[in-house]
């Protein structure tokens, strides 16, 4: 029960307090304008190079934006607390670490999910991309799973935040890697082999692939394997991120770097 | 001609709250004050936090436009001749922000020299002079982020003097400094006045105003409640005596009983670590000690002493309006 409270209450308040992303002045430009223009940018490059259909880019970029809050928000949670000197306070409480950090990720996942959905709908409308009605429910599922797996990566990023100061920089770099590697705009087959191999192990890759098939009319059963893979990768990153967090926490306690803001 | 004149100077702030339904609240920060600072004078603006000192200063240095009334610096209006005023006034604010921390103190001074339009030749001479004056010589090539609070504050002073202004305004320059640093800074301020500059200083430290200022204006809740030389202000309470009582945990109601006690003109309490220091003012010659102790009931009492009033007592009496 206590764990549950830390999970929900702690998660929500820290999310609010730490970066106030709930103000429309940040939400609208960061989560509505930016994803939309990223879709348009790559869709137009796609039209120039005659590489793929508009739908390819709408799905890829919209789903990538599920990852953005997950990377930035998780990293900021740690970085922000360090900035406000509350990190040692939080870490000295006996609260269980897993509900503490995972709890912080729930609003983040929800955020990523909404952003992704908005980008998908408006991007499709603007570019005249048709997505079958029957695909909507499965797409929602895939977006949620993708947001979850990206949060795993966000957790790793947050753990890094215990060591390096600039989580905003690491978040941006991770975003860039996902952009290039995960088949967001470049089909995996067009990437060098070593890159597509790495992509197989990253969150987002399978989610995007599944979503593209769904939007193309495939049933949920056909993409079950891809969704499962995304979910599995997500779990691995969550567990890995959690382990890394504990490791970094112990490490930084030993080296006394927690206070350093 | 006065170096600084304020005429019915008034400034209000509007605060808005709420996002959907906006509510506005008007706050009177400065409520129409008049004062003059003569050329070459060191004038103190004294008052508690939130009394309107900084707002007044910001209107004088052209950072705020008065809501009504007027102010002039060397005869130039602060609203209509803002640039002329800026050329003639040096503004030093307290606190450790206000410099480019990633760069050296010297870089900061060079940059601001440009902004003040100081010719390169003059800069070469003046910057070392100022570094010497504020005691930063030898540390000027270090990054400001490594400076102590006192060093940053002294850098502010140097910055405010780059263009050799005839009028210098210092807003709580010693705030947050250790005692040694604060004393050094006061010496520097005294030197400025000796060099013939008109200095306007705000502070809430009494001894600072007492030691430095030729004249003082006491400001409380946006109004000037008294003005004069430190000696003249002290005379407000010259016919009084001050009883200091240390009490360990004042019981509820004790303060009210003391205040209502016959003969008492003003009471204030200073919270110290484990003890409250009660300061009671009463007319000279009145023996109140026993009567006051009676008011306190059976609380444990430490030191009890009667003494001559200081400028601080005059200030307390003025600010609390008794």
């Amino acid at each position: 029960m206590t764990s549950l409270r830390i999970f929900f209450v702690g998660g929500l308040t820290s999310y609010r307090a730490l970066f106030n992303w709930l103000t429309p002045w940040i939400l609208i430009p960061s989560f509505l304008i930016a994803p939309l223009f990223q879709i348009l940018l790559f869709a137009y490059i796609g039209r120039t190079t005659h590489l793929e259909s508009d739908r390819f880019y709408v799905i890829g970029n919209a789903l990538q934006y599920a990852a953005v809050p997950c990377l930035f928000a998780m990293g900021n949670t740690i970085g922000g607390e360090r900035f406000q000197h509350t990190l040692p306070l939080v870490l000295t409480t006996p609260a269980g670490r897993l509900p503490l950090f995972i709890g912080r990720s729930v609003p983040v996942i929800a955020n990523g999910f909404v952003v992704s959905g908005f980008a998908l709908v408006t991007g499709s409308a603007l570019l005249g991309v048709h997505v079958p009605i029957s695909a909507v429910a499965p797409l929602v599922l895939v977006a949620a799973v993708t947001a979850f797996s990206c949060t795993g990566l966000g957790l790793c990023n947050a753990a890094l935040g215990l060591r390096v100061r600039e989580t905003a920089v690491t978040s941006n770099i991770l975003f860039g890697f996902l952009l290039v590697f995960c088949g967001v705009n470049v089909p995996l087959s067009s990437l060098p082999a070593w890159m597509s191999t790495i992509a197989e192990g990253l969150p987002l890759t399978h989610g995007i692939a599944a979503a593209r098939q769904l939007a193309g009319g495939a049933g949920l059963g056909k993409v079950a394997g891809l969704v499962g893979a995304e979910l599995l990768i997500g779990c691995i990153y969550v567990v890995g991120g959690y382990a890394l967090l504990r490791l970094m926490e112990i490490e930084s306690r030993r080296r006394g770097t927690l206070e350093i803001a | 001609m006065a170096a600084i004149e304020a005429e019915k100077l008034r400034r209000t702030y509007r605060q808005t709250s709420g996002f959907v339904r906006r509510r506005t609240k008007t706050i009177e920060a400065v409520r129409g004050i008049d004062f003059e600072v003569n050329e070459g004078e060191l004038f103190g603006l004294l008052g508690p936090n939130g009394a309107g000192k900084t707002t007044t200063i910001k209107m004088l240095v052209t950072l705020l436009i008065p809501t009504s009334g007027a102010a002039r610096v060397l005869g130039h209006d602060v609203v209509h001749s803002a640039r002329t005023v800026r050329r003639n006034i040096g503004y030093v604010f307290g606190g450790d922000r206000g410099a480019y921390e990633r760069l050296s103190g010297l870089d900061n001074l060079r940059y601001f020299s440009e902004l003040y339009g100081v010719p390169p030749k003059v800069q070469k001479r003046r910057i070392p002079e100022l570094l010497e004056l504020v005691g930063l010589m030898g540390r000027e090539k270090e990054r400001v982020e490594g400076y102590s609070r006192g060093m940053k504050q002294r850098l502010h002073i140097a910055r405010g003097l780059l263009h050799d202004p005839p009028v210098v305004v210092l807003d709580e320059p010693t705030i947050g400094l250790d005692p040694v640093g604060a004393r050094e800074l006061r010496n520097t301020i005294a030197e400025l006045a000796q060099a013939g500059k008109t200095v306007l200083l705000t502070t809430h430290y009494m001894y600072e105003a007492d030691a430095l200022c030729d004249r003082i204006a006491v400001i409380a809740e946006g109004e000037i409640v008294a003005e004069g030389t430190p000696t003249a202000l002290k005379s407000v309470v010259a016919d009084r005596t001050v009883v200091e009582i240390e009490a360990y945990g004042l019981p509820a109601g004790a303060l009210e009983r003391v205040r209502a006690s016959p003969g008492v003109t003003s009471v204030s309490v200073e919270e110290r670590e484990h003890v409250q220091l009660l300061l009671v003012q009463a007319p000279k010659g009145l023996e109140l000690t026993q009567q006051l102790l009676g008011c306190l009931g059976d609380v444990r009492v430490g030191r009890v002493a009667a003494r001559e009033p200081t400028l601080e007592d005059a200030y307390v009496s003025l600010v609390t309006g008794s």
């Binding site: 960061s30 490059i45 890697f177 067009s190 | 052209t62 436009i65 800026r86």
Partner: protein
């Protein structure tokens, strides 16, 4: 003359300050590279070396805009944060002459990113950069930097009341890349977009750089760039006075 000196010294001062934050600078170079890499992979499928060079030149200008849009939109906010805004406003210098060097320095730093993108394209994607008019290229690049810096100046003044302008600056990154034709020809857009593209100096900057490198008449776009830069400068300067006066009236200079 005095104004020119103030801008030049201010620019040097800002460059010095920017050079002290290498970690941010690293991101400034890496960030456009991710997009350039994606674009290179996309253009590579066309097997047209000219298309790749077109993409390389266009994406090299992306970094100039990126470093300007984010930093310029929050330039005033940053001065507030340092506590230096009041100190600057309290000086007799005209405020636009203080602000222009700040945004100009930011666009200048973008040249690093430009070089990095061209080298990246050269060594990882084998995009040979052969420049037809080297002299005009050398003119086109600083002109573009100047025009983008002044666009940043206008932006910084326009968004001064916007507390979280960095978010807006971030969001403006892609639209300009897109609308100014960094990577796609303007002819692909609906007609109503075209006047917007023409009013934005980066459109002409990237065109000048391309024509200088690939062959063409880059002098016209250079002239358009300079003309627009002057317009931004004048508009921004006029706006600065209004903005500052209102800030002194509403007491918003010192707020963080």
């Amino acid at each position: 003359m005095k104004a020119l000196r103030l801008v030049a010294i201010g620019w040097l001062f800002q460059m010095k300050m920017l050079s002290r934050s290498s970690f941010d600078g690293l991101l400034g170079i890496l960030w456009p590279l991710f997009f350039a890499t994606t674009a290179f992979f996309m253009f590579r499928t066309s097997h047209d070396s000219r298309a790749l060079l077109y993409a390389a030149l266009g994406s090299s200008v992306m970094g100039i805009w990126s470093s300007t849009s984010v930093a310029a939109s929050s330039a005033l906010q940053r001065e507030r944060w340092y506590g230096t805004l009041e100190a600057i406003v309290g000086t007799p210098a005209h405020f636009s002459l203080v602000l222009i060097p700040i945004t100009l320095a930011m666009s200048t730093v973008g040249i690093y990113s430009m070089a990095a993108t061209l080298l990246w394209g050269r060594f990882l994607f084998g995009i040979g950069v052969h420049i037809v008019h080297p002299l005009l290229f050398v003119i086109a690049v600083p002109t573009t930097v100047l025009a983008i810096g002044l666009l940043g100046f206008l932006l910084s003044v326009t968004v001064v009341r916007y507390r979280t302008a960095w978010a807006l600056g971030n969001a403006l990154e892609y639209p300009v890349w897109l609308v100014c034709g960094f990577l796609v020809p303007l002819s692909l857009f609906p007609d109503w977009v075209r006047p917007i593209s023409w009013a934005l100096a980066p459109t002409w900057g990237v065109r000048a750089i391309r024509q200088a490198a690939l062959g063409g008449a880059p002098l016209w776009p250079v002239a358009a760039c300079i003309g627009l830069a002057a317009l931004y400068g004048i508009a921004g300067t006029l706006l600065v006075d209004t903005v500052l006066r209102s800030a002194r009236r509403t007491a918003t200079l010192s707020l963080t």
